[in-house]
């Protein structure tokens, strides 16, 4: 077996991922190869250092509120969806009624009718756009607040 393969076995050995057969091959090779013995020892030291690496633990309070935060955000999302759906229904219904009134009123000048229709159309588009942003881009917005 070549040195490259043995070095991979050394890596796996320190991870306790070597089977008995490979362990025997490794042991036999190490007896007669000083280069791989050196690699074995160095890898042992490396593993010792890596074994000491650990993340700093956050405050215990973080775990206590962790689920509550997830729960609240799940609830809030449903709230946003309901609000958006309700808002859109009201908006379209109101818009329809207003339009109906304007169109049916023969005393209203045509230019005024067009102007009002344009304003209502613009408002409707903007509101729908904003609602959609709140629902679908909410997460992205939240990250912007986090960045400092």
């Amino acid at each position: 077996m070549d040195h490259q393969k043995i070095k991979e076995l050394i890596s796996s050995y320190h991870d306790r991922e070597v089977n008995d057969k490979d362990k025997q091959v490794l042991d036999e090779h190490l007896k007669k190869c000083s280069e791989c013995r050196k690699e074995f020892e160095e890898m042992g030291k490396f593993e010792e250092v890596m074994g000491k690496m650990q993340f700093k633990k956050p405050q215990k309070e973080m775990w206590q509120v962790y689920w509550n935060t997830v729960y609240n955000r799940l609830e809030r999302r449903i709230g946003w969806i309901l609000l958006s759906i309700g808002g859109m229904i009201l908006l379209f219904f109101g818009g329809y009624k207003v339009l109906e009134g304007i169109i049916q009123d023969s005393s209203t000048p045509l230019l005024l009718k067009i102007g009002i229709l344009a304003v209502l159309g613009g408002v409707a588009v903007l509101l729908v756009s904003l609602l959609r942003e709140q629902i679908f881009v909410h997460k992205r917005e939240r990250y912007k607040e986090v960045e400092k």
Partner: protein, 215 residues
Amino acid sequence: MNKTGSKDVYKTRQNEMAEEAALQKDRIFHGKKVHIRVNEEVSEKELLEVVQKGDKEAYGVIVKRYMHSAYYVALGFVHNQQDALDVSQDAFIKAFRKIKMFDTSMPFFPWFYRLLRNLCIDYLKRKNRTRAIPLQDIQVIAVEKEDRELKETLWKGIEKLPFEQREVVILRYFQQLSYAEIAEFIGKPIGTVMSSLFYAKKKLKEIIGKYLGFE
């Protein structure tokens, strides 16, 4: 870090799980009785089936079970505590939304991990965060000044690894997963995991070699 004490990420927080479970009594989720008591672990499959019906309380048990692992995985990728908290919580929210697509005969965490990993990648891309992890977020059990320098050098080395290698390093050393578990998590063969880890170690060993007296 005791590597032998925890080979399975699903079991890494069992003590905390027992404490959390101790705070709760038997509950009825959608007409199905679910026991949540000390020394009586709730079947994950049973819980997830209830979650799939939309039960948030049952999902709370799942979140509490895996929040530690999720947070530390995210911390390994996104560099600081606040971001790790946010991204891991985002992943739980996303998982809840997609839970009906989940096969309850499979373990939850590998499936969840893939959602979390993708969110971490998206997050890094979006924010273009290439800065190194703040060292205050990493702790090495060391008292010597020299060891502190070693820690800094080692972490910078981990940060510079290609994403695939960094991922296996994080899962191996910070989640204590076996090769088979890592392979399941990242959806690649064990041989690929072994190879990625070998090359990652080789690079890191070269980087910190001078501190350990390697020639």
